[in-house]
Symmetry: C2
């Protein structure tokens, strides 16, 4: 029996392209499409596909959240994260959410088909780049590399939207020092910008998210 696939992506172009790719393989069958995470979860519930191809960046509900929802509710459905951006946070988020694979959208049709079949069989399938990211971190397994007390303070202020200069004033130190701290924070958290660091701080509960 063919592997039944659900495509979740907000770009109809991508969905069509995937349909084309996958239709070339008689062992694969696209049984549904969704244009956002919420829709994806509902369709997965209804169609019970073997594999979900999940874009990570989508409006309404992002792919990581949707992946987590699907895996929690339908553990027999495997999810492959299929995204255009190779970003640390996304990779780890997707894997943590229960994705069995993480592939970039520039993957060759052949490789993609092979990955889907592997996923249906429960085998992990990562793109080389994603695998590299993972191993790099796995070598430092349990460590988001602890931040120092001062760094946590800086991160807290940063996550309130303060600029380096304002953080410096608040802490009574030089702006240069703040920049050093911020650099170290980004490096330790494995993120690329202060905005990502702020998001990390919120996710990890370091700063409270005031109710809207």
């Amino acid at each position: 029996m063919a592997v039944q696939i659900l495509i979740v992506d907000d770009h109809s172009v991508v969905r069509q392209g995937l349909r084309m790719f996958l239709s070339l393989d008689p062992d694969l069958q696209v049984i549904g499409e969704a244009s956002n995470g919420d829709e994806g979860v509902q369709l997965a519930r209804k169609l019970r596909p073997h594999v979900v191809l999940m874009d990570l960046l989508m409006p309404v509900m992002d792919g990581v959240t949707a992946t987590a929802a699907i895996r929690r509710e339908l553990p027999e459905v495997e999810v492959i994260a299929l995204t255009s951006v190779l970003e640390d946070a996304s990779v780890f988020g997707a894997i943590r959410a229960g994705a069995i694979g993480y592939l970039l959208k520039d993957t060759e049709a052949e490789d993609l088909c092979r990955a889907i079949k592997s996923a249906a069989a429960g085998q992990v399938q990562l793109s080389p780049q994603a695998a590299a990211l993972l191993t790099r971190e796995v070598r430092i397994p349990e460590s988001p590399e602890k931040l120092t007390q001062r760094e946590i303070e800086v991160l807290g202020l940063l996550a309130h939207g303060l600029a380096n200069k304002e953080i410096a004033r608040e802490l009574g130190i030089g702006e240069k020092t703040v920049k050093t701290h911020v650099s170290n924070i980004l490096s330790k958290l494995g993120v690329l910008s202060r905005t990502q660091a702020a998001l990390y701080a919120i996710q990890s509960g370091l700063v409270a998210v005031p109710a809207a």
Copy 2:
């Protein structure tokens, strides 16, 4: 009877300074100190001060959250936000959370005493700068100035930590265009940086905060 005051600030220096200032006025009496928001809420519950002087930027629990908690539970306790940074989000956050006043830390001792007495009497007391910010916004009362569809898309990606270049790639448009959108978003939201915009997006529920 003297006005009973609870000081909540993470800097012991500030707490000491305030004690000094306030002890000069026989009508004022500091009955407690807390070094973070959580502690502040607990002490307010126990001591039932007339007025709480609340710093907004603190570890563990920030002042806005603490203010909201106190006002919800103990409506008879007035809270004055006392902070070193004059920042739009903080001002509105504090006022929304139920603070009766918003003063900068460079306020003169005299003015501070007067403000505390006014607050104890239930009268609103704002620093001139904060008042200016408020009136500027109040003139555009109910309008966070709605974002366009495209701007919401950009904000969504931005709130996932993407850089302008990545957003451009994701949306299939030029980086310059993204910068235009971001500029307009910042302007409409009344914030000063993309990080603040990302925080706004999370607070307003535009993007989901994945469980840690």
